[in-house]
Every structure is written in C-alpha cells, then in structure tokens.
Symmetry: C2
Subunit: 356 residues, 2 copies
DNA sequence: TCTATGCGTGTGTACGCACACGAAATTTGA
DNA sequence: TCAAATTTCGTGTGCGTACACACGCATAGA
C-alpha cells in the first residue's frame, strides 16, 4: 500500500504538500506540483478512503423530503427502509440524515415539510418532487442557498439536480407489455386497469402505460387491449360489479395489467373463480401485492427496487459530500421481474431494515 | 456520535479498558465490565468501522481458487469481475487478494493451483469446489492450517466452510418450470436440452432439472416434457440434425429449456425458421446468451448474478477477517429473470469492472 | 522484616493514514 | 535591506486498537 508519506518522501516534500496537490488546493509551485503528479501516477497512488473519511469527518447533515406511509399507503415504506439502511451505514462518516415526511396527496403538506427542512440548513437534500409548482419554488431556494439535491423516484426535467435515482417508467411499461404478450395467446385480449386519475406520480404511470402500448404496437400483435378507469383506488373495491361485469362481457380477456402499485386492490375486486383464469401483471412489491403473488393470483410483479433507490440516494449523496464524487446524471434501478418462485430471494436486505 | 472516549469518561475508566470490554479481551474486573456494558447499551454505542478499520490495518491476504475463463468458456468471467471489484474496494482495509485460476475440466490443474495457493499462506480462501475428491484433500489442509474458507457458486455438503455464496439451483429449476409453464399452453410440449454429461457442476444442473420437473409435477400440468441429451457441448452444433429432426417430429414442442449455461449453442443449432416459433429459456447471462436474448430467440434467462457472487465473497471474507463478523451459513443470490426488455438495467456495475 | 515475584486490573500512548491550519522558510519586489 | 508574497513544513485531529507499563496487593523466600 502506497501512502501519502511514501510519495512525499520520494518527492522530497512533506505530506502536506502532496495533499495540496491531490486536492488542487493551490499554493504549490508548478515545478513541485509536476514532480509530485508524476510520482503519483508512476506509483498509481490511490487515496485511502478509510483514512480519508476519518480525517474528513465534518459532520454533514442530510435532509430527505419524502412522502409518509401508513397501512393504506404502503408504497413509500421501502424507500424509507432503504434510506434508513443507508443512514446507518454512513453515520460513521459523520453524516446524519433527517427525514421530513409529507402527505403525498397534499401540496401544502409538501411545502410545509420543506420549510421545516430548510430551517435545519442541511448540506444536501434528497427529495421526491411530487408537486410540480411547489417543487419549482423549492428548487429556487436550494439553488440560492447552493445546497445540492437529488431526485428520488420521480424525475422532473429542467432542474440542475445532482442526479436522478429511479426507474425508467417507459421501459418498465414495455416490459409489462412483453410479459403480458408472453403469458397470453394471440386470440386473448388484455385489460388494463387504471386505478385512479393519479394526483401525483401520474407522469410515471402514464409513461408505463405508453411503454406498454408501445410494445404492443411495435410487436404487431393483434391482441386487443381494453382499458378500465377508476377515479379513486377505493372505488375499485366498491365497484366490484363494474370490473366483474366487464370480464364477463369480454370473456376473451385473459391478461390484466395494472400500471399503478395497486394491483392488490384489483385482485380483491375480481371474483375468485374468475381470478384463476387470468394472468395478472402489476408493479411494485408492496406487502399486499406480495400476498397476492404468493397466492398465485398475480403472475408477475415488476419491481423498481425502491428500497435500493432509497439506499442508493444516501450513498450517492454521501460520496458526493465526502469524496466529491460526481454521480451519473441518471441512475436507473433495475427492472426486476418478481414471481411466486423468486420473490423470497429478492428482499433479504430490506427485511433487516424495515421500519415497523 | 458517541465515541469510546465518551464511554470511558462516563465509566471513569480509560479508553483501553472499554476496548477490552468491547472485544472480550479479558483483564477487566466483573464489576467494571458490567458497568461499562451497561453504559454501552444505554448510549447504544456502535464501533466506528472507519476508525476501527484504520486501526486494525493488519494486511491480510486472501486467495481465490476459481476456474479460468476464455472465449469458449466465458461463464466464469463474471465472478472474476466481481472479485476484482471487491478486491479494489477492500484494498484500503489492507487486504490483498490473489486469484489462482485452474482448468475447470482438469482435476490435476485444480490440485496444482491449490498447491501454489497454499504456498502463499493466505489468511482466508475463497474456492469453487468443482472436484469432489480433490476438494476433500484441500479442506483437510485448510482445516489443519486453520485457514477459514468459503464456497463460491458450488455448495459441497459436509464441510465446515464459513459459508456458501451462490444460487439455490433447485429453486432456479422451479422458476424455469414456472416460466416455461407461463409461456406455453396446456397443449404444447416442452423440450429440455442437456448439453452434456457435465464433468463438473453436474450437481447444480441436476438440481435445476429436478426443480424444473418438480414444478411441472406439482402444478398438475399435463404438459409433456421431452429430454434430449448430448455428451459434449460441441456435439450440439455438430448434430444440428438431431435437434432439428426432433423438433420436426414433435411439432407440439413450443418451449425449450436448457438447464446449463449453454443455451446459446442450442439456439445456434436450431434452424432459424423453427426458432421463431419457440419460447426458449436458459440460464446465465453470458455474452453469447445475451446476444440471443437481444435477437429475441431466447425469451428468458435466469441469472444467478455471478458477478454479485464474486463481489459478495470478497466482502464477506473481509468482514469476517477485519470485523470478526460471522456470515450466514448460506447466502443465496437472487434468481433474476432477464428478458430483452430489462437486461440493460441489470449489469451496469459489472461492465465497469470487466476484465478484458 | 525486607526484597522478589506474581497476578489481576487498569492506564497511557503510539499507531494507522489523510487532512488542514498555523507557522516557518524561502523567494520576490521595492 | 526589509516587508510582502509564495511555498513548504510540522503537527494536532479524527477514532479505535493493542501493547507496554504502572499500580496495588498477595504470597514466597532469604
């Protein structure tokens, strides 16, 4: 292992000077700088991140603006857990994260949570930019204060965020198209159930829908695609009639695709005897969805690994603050295909950090 | 952040004493120990791994016994890359890994590589225990020298290895069964192609076959399953006739499952016009397999994420040596389902560390 | 009775490596 | 020749680890 001292000795300077060169902190004559740089290269010197982290300990604070979760809205639990895991891991780097939860259906709650957040003057911010208008104000504030921020799960264009960590929704839709195509025949028809006019996240879900339709169009399949729209997720259950009648009316429907994370509600709504005959594809591995996967009612879930997204956000921001490492502009999470047969191998990390 | 000094101050002892308690190094009176332990618990003290690693720097050496790869046998490339990434990452912990490659078809090469390996007296060993008899001798040597070791990719029973990192092959077979079931109808038939009597790894592939058959049995599907056996992988290509005739003879065959990593060879063998009509399922994301996936000839690949296996081996062994962290007895890697639509999101890490 | 030896317990501190700041040394300009 | 500017050095810091040593007390031998 080559250390800074080794380099210093070879260059006949002190370790401090080498450090200045390493970090471009100036105050070194061109001559010395060249000499040191040459030796660094020759010896293939790499900073010891362990020692570096220890020395850098500067007690940064992070702040995370993310929707809250509860029994009804469990989707955001996974990113919370991932963020929790990441926070634990980077504590030793002198980094502390605070979560500012808000109500995903209420722009005011979003704005309010941010006002609380900004009071703590964090060194960097992770946010889920659900509301367009409010986000613009937020970004302006962050820019003014020169606080770097990254987007988690939702990619809003036209900001100079550090990066985006999340799923490629259009591509996820394509994948859903492919899977629905595989598990049906040409004669079958497919039903797409939109669980609501989404207040938020409509962009992501719309992208999935478009990706899905894109696949079917480009693959020249003659499979007919039906759409059924509900306005509120709860209405789905209340209007069991609607969906069951629909399926009776169109007996050729063998595939069902639910582009939101609410496939479980659709499964609940459909009569048991009808379920057996359907191939159902959904998104996101919420506990409810996993339940229906286990029972065999859901055939495929496409996971965006939101636990990993949360985790990766913390790690990315930390590397940026501590090691000045500039991340890729977009960090897409894998599109994971989950079935009854492989779900148990997919979330072992998550369970450990689950917040109950 | 609570430090050892904080604890020491509160307990009116020195940091050294706290350290003795933390590591059970003895030489502390029961009274003092209890007091310190109580405070540690109260304050929820966690060792700062950064500082710990820096202080522990002990320059461990690892050794890895793993099959070599080349253009023809590319399967082992991914674990090599993963090991490479891991090695880079743990260098700062004073850990150096040496790879001892061997010919996967030659037991003598395996034994010889180990003899070279043991000369370097490593502090821990990662090995792929392909050959049963030779492995027994190896294990004996390692036990005598009290060198800890873990199994990568192949799980040999009856040894006191530190842990096994790899795929659950039986479960992978079940998954293949499910996927084949999904992409065919009840009237269709399925062909399983065994590309050879495997010299090595026959246990894993046999497990896959059994898992596959198990699924079809338990699911009460009446789908007929054919088997076609070749003795050498190359023979497949030479005997194109055999497989093509088979498919002509059994026109109901719509699904093909290849439980080895050689699905690409099978694709090469089958006539183009026949391919279009088949749903092919294979294992492992070798470049050749990915090629056929991209073309649309292969429908599903089940990946055992061997890059991650290699990476995780290094990390696990490092945590064991440096932080005395005892790993789980088995660390199963996820069963990842790869299609044309999601393969590009799955291996971004791998590309960076690929060894050309 | 006094030194020697031992043991159990606990302290002090050097070390690992990079970082950053104040101080020192050297060069430059007037 | 002196002050200012530039370049370089020395050292304390972050935190845990582990070794040498110190202290108090007990037992043994002279």
């Amino acid at each position: 292992m080559i250390t800074i001292k080794d380099i210093a000795k070879e260059a006949n300077v002190s370790a401090g000077t080498v450090d200045r060169v390493l970090h471009n902190r100036g105050g070194v004559s061109t001559e010395t700088e060249e000499k040191i740089k040459k030796i660094l290269k020759e010896r293939n010197f790499k900073i010891n991140l362990i020692a570096s982290s220890l020395a850098m300990k500067k007690n940064h604070t992070l702040a995370t603006l993310i929707p809250d979760f509860d029994q009804q809205n469990v989707f955001w639990k996974s990113p919370h857990s991932g963020i929790e895991k990441g926070s634990q891991e980077v504590k030793a780097y002198g980094i502390e994260n605070h979560i500012f939860p808000f109500n995903q259906f209420d722009p005011n709650s979003y704005a309010k949570a941010f006002r609380e957040l900004i009071k703590t003057s964090p060194d960097a911010v992770i946010l889920v930019p659900i509301f367009l208008k409010e986000t613009k104000t937020i970004i302006q504030t962050l820019n003014n204060k020169k606080i770097p921020y990254l987007f988690l799960n939702i990619n809003l264009k036209g900001s100079d965020r550090l990066c985006y960590i999340g799923q490629k929704s259009f591509e996820a839709g394509i994948l859903a198209g492919k899977l629905s195509n595989i598990c049906t025949t040409e004669d079958d028809e497919i039903l797409m159930v939109l669980t609501r006019k989404n207040l938020f996240n409509h962009v992501a879900i719309q992208d999935r829908v478009e990706g899905f339709l894109d696949f079917h169009q480009k693959s020249n399949s003659k499979t007919k695609i039906h759409k059924l729209q509900f306005n509120q997720p709860d209405e789905v259950f209340e209007s069991r009639e609607k969906i069951n009648q629909f399926i009776e009316k169109y007996p050729k429907v063998k595939g069902v695709v639910v582009p939101s994370s609410r496939v479980s509600i659709v499964c609940e709504a459909i009569d048991k005897e009808k379920l057996a005959d359907l191939r159902i594809i959904g998104f996101d591995t919420t506990p409810q969805n996993i339940d229906f996967l286990k029972r065999g009612d859901v055939t495929f879930l496409i996971s965006q690994k939101s636990f990993n997204q949360g985790y990766k956000s913390i790690i990315t921001i930390t590397n940026f603050l501590v090691h000045k490492e500039i991340p890729n502009n977009e960090i897409p999470t894998p599109l994971e295909i989950i079935t009854k047969e492989n779900y148990m191998f997919s979330h072992s990390d998550e369970r450990k950090y689950s917040i109950e």
